[in-house]
């Protein structure tokens, strides 16, 4: 029995800042001090507060160490784990208040969160099935197989009001009901772990922190619809997730929780991994299934829907990782418990990957209906450097921008659609006054142009033409007619594309046109980029009356565009400098260097 547990975050964020080296060093130090039988070192999944990684939490005290370095490990071992003196300087400073240490759950970042899908992330060792079982893992599968009929399982899902967390928000129970209603000799259960939105890492964190929950939920789905085979389609760019999933599958086999005659009920279920090569379109359900079959990942028209003809032309259900992560708890705690969270039409919680201009970059899970303001200002800790909130982008390349005027809208599927964005899988990128909305629209469109599979014309050519127009606008070559033309083209692409990729690709353009038309007009009419992002519209200049003539900017300028003039401002001792705009490459080094704020762009 260990007296103390040290949890080291092994999520992707912390791993990239060497948390695994920290775990190694910890084990080494503990062994050297003879504490390795008393203190247990566990590598967990993501804690969510990625901005402060690498993260280490010591229980039973619950001390939350942030930004730990390998060099800090001997001090933590000697002071804290050996002598019981918490190393206050390394604690997450929000947990330290008037010399007392408060619980992590009382900090602004965690207090408003409600962890359902992420409940095991940062708690269990994802590579140990016993840890998962200790937290009631596989109990839901046991309950379903021994106490419930498939119809009851589906009814529970319907009653819970769970909707697909991949973005579209289709009721999960309904999907299962359709698949269960189709007779076939073979049916399939698939898991969409092909998370592709830029800046989104919710599914990745669930897979890395709690892989067994996905396996358990897929087996439950298999029982409900009458399938014996499952596939997880996960992108190969998630090596940690792939590794932990494979370990989890092997362990579940060893315990007989996958395979034949599970719990002695005669129910058979097996799961195979399929690695995706990272094509964004393969996150679309029909393309994903085509890819599992070993063919080129391209979508096909629906109907027939996958519940009728899916993988290998058999009835198939496909759910997202986060959807699955909710299911075992719905079974154990009941549909009413789940339906008690959230809004009228969107039940439960939603995980968001917070990114962009925000202090607490990381992973948060909040009940549906939480306002954007709560997420950004309270949980997210606001915007760095006192800048002003401009917009939040949800739904990645399929979503839109939510301006400041809608900060108080309760977030759920339907409200987001109503304000021109969408839930998407949960990426939430915060933008401040330094972000140019035309540039943002261009960024996402570049992504969809790259990722369009090319099968249908509206998407392949339409998005390309749209991008060309945006590009012209950011170069100051746009016209007012072009804005109207763009809007028409957007609506055409939406209406005519084959799959979700094309149907949603114009959303970033449409929503920025809707809320930030003045910025587009500034680019087109005034040839100015108000946020100072679009390089072609920028000009750098030195305000000569503010220039002290120190010459720092001239030294930093990589192209030698800054030279001294013969003008000395009143009250200054040295002559001012000026920028030769024909040589200037607009890198911004001069602005960053000037101590007197004498350099301006615009």
């Amino acid at each position: 029995m260990y007296r103390s547990n040290v949890l080291v975050c092994g999520g992707t964020g912390c791993t990239s800042s060497h948390s695994l080296l920290i775990a190694e060093k910890l084990k080494e130090e503990l062994k050297a001090k003879g504490l390795d039988k008393e203190v247990n070192v566990i590598t967990t999944g993501c804690f969510g507060l990625c901005a402060l990684g690498p993260i280490m939490v010591v229980y039973p005290e619950g001390s939350f160490y942030s930004m730990v370095k390998v060099e800090d490990v001997p001090e933590i071992v000697e002071e804290h784990l050996n002598k019981g003196r918490i190393v206050t300087r390394l604690l997450y400073q929000e947990t330290v208040e008037n010399d007392t240490i408060k619980s992590l759950n009382k900090t602004a970042f965690y207090e408003k969160q409600h962890r359902v899908a992420l409940r095991n992330c940062g708690v269990i060792d994802p590579e140990k099935i016993d840890d998962y079982i200790a937290n009631d893992g596989y109990a839901a599968l046991g309950k379903v197989l021994t106490e419930m009929t498939p119809e009851q399982v589906i009814q529970t899902m319907l009653d819970s009001g769970l909707r697909g967390r991949g973005g579209a928000g289709f009721p999960t129970g309904l999907k299962w009901k359709f698949a269960a209603g189709n007779d076939a000799d073979q049916k399939y259960v698939c898991c969409n772990a092909d998370e592709g939105d830029p800046g989104a890492f919710m599914d990745r964190s669930v897979l890395e922190g709690d892989p067994h929950v996905v396996l358990e939920a897929m087996a439950i789905a298999g029982y409900a619809i009458g399938a014996s085979q499952g596939y997880i389609y996960v992108r190969a760019e998630y090596p940690i997730a792939v590794k932990r999933l494979q370990i989890a599958i092997d362990q579940a086999h060893e315990y007989g929780l996958l395979g034949e005659d599970i719990f002695g009920t005669g129910f058979n279920f097996d799961i195979k991994l399929r690695l995706g090569a990272g094509a964004f379109v393969c996150g679309e359900e029909t393309a994903l299934m085509t890819s599992i079959e070993g063919k080129r990942g391209e979508p096909r028209p629906r109907p027939p829907f996958p519940a009728v003809k899916g993988l290998y032309r058999k009835p198939t259900i496909l759910n997202n990782v986060e959807t699955y992560a909710n299911i075992p708890q719905i079974i154990l705690k009941g549909a009413d418990w789940f339906a008690s969270m959230g809004t009228e039409k969107s039940k439960g919680t939603k995980v968001f990957a917070l990114g962009g201009k925000i202090n607490h970059t990381g992973l948060v899970e909040v009940p549906m209906g939480t306002t954007l303001r709560t997420i950004v200002e309270e949980i997210g800790g606001g915007i760095p450097n006192g800048k002003k909130f401009k917009a939040a982008q949800t739904g990645g390349p399929s979503g839109g921008c939510i301006p400041a005027e809608h900060l108080d809208v309760p977030i759920d599927y339907d409200n987001l659609i109503a304000i021109g964005s969408m839930m998407g899988s949960g990426g939430l990128i915060v933008m401040d006054e330094d972000n140019c909305m035309v540039d943002i629209a261009k960024f996402f469109l570049e992504f969809t142009v790259d990722e369009s599979c090319g099968k249908c014309t509206p998407c392949r050519i339409g998005t390309k033409r749209l991008l060309e127009m945006l590009d012209k606008i950011t170069k100051g070559q746009g016209t007012m007619e072009m804005l109207d033309e763009m809007e028409d083209l957007c609506n055409y692409i939406k209406a005519n594309s084959l799959c979700g990729l094309g149907q949603t690709a114009p959303n970033p353009v449409l929503s920025t046109l809707r809320y930030f038309k003045d910025e587009y007009i500034a680019h087109v009419v005034d040839h100015k980029c108000p946020a100072g992002v679009c390089k072609d519209l920028l000009e750098f200049r030195i305000e000569k009356d503010k220039c002290f003539g120190c010459g720092m900017c001239a030294k930093k300028c990589p192209v030698g565009a800054i030279t001294v003039t013969d003008y000395t401002a009143p009250g200054k001792k040295k002559p001012a400098y000026e920028i030769d705009t024909t040589k200037c490459i607009k890198c911004g080094a001069c602005i960053a260097t000037c101590k007197f704020n004498a350099v301006f762009k615009g």
Binding site: M1, R3, N5, N40, P60, K83, V123, I133
Partner: protein, 123 residues
């Protein structure tokens, strides 16, 4: 896995370790003095004895065992403080591993302070 009972057995076995990772504000606290004086007087085996005994009795959720620094009565080390919520803190002195099962049983389970081990019993 052929039965729910098997799953339950694994769950119970693994439960104690997980419970250590959940904060319970109402848990009783066992604080073992682990400054240099405490360690020199043999506090480490005492600390481990508490951990073992509490796990054995399935109390990991209700009792947290942690270290604390020197509380200034070095001649009486190993010193152990037991705080049961709603009751006054009790200080046990010169604690040896053999005394631990009784403290856990009498004090933490049955709420009877083991008076003869406390600092008040010292003559």
């Amino acid at each position: 896995m052929k039965s729910l009972a098997e799953l339950q057995a694994i769950r119970d076995r693994a439960r104690a370790q997980i419970e250590l990772r959940q904060e319970n504000p109402n848990a009783a606290k066992v604080l073992v003095g682990m400054a240099t004086c405490g360690i020199a007087a043999g506090a480490r085996p005492v600390l481990n004895a508490f951990t073992e005994e509490i796990a054995k009795r399935g109390l990991t959720k209700d009792v947290t065992v942690t270290q604390t620094g020197c509380i200034g009565i070095c001649q009486y080390e190993p010193v152990v403080e037991v705080e049961v919520p709603g009751q006054e803190k009790v200080t046990y002195v010169k604690v040896a591993p053999e005394m631990v099962p009784r403290i856990v049983n009498d004090h933490l389970v049955n709420h009877n302070v083991v008076t003869e081990y406390t600092i008040g019993a010292i003559k």
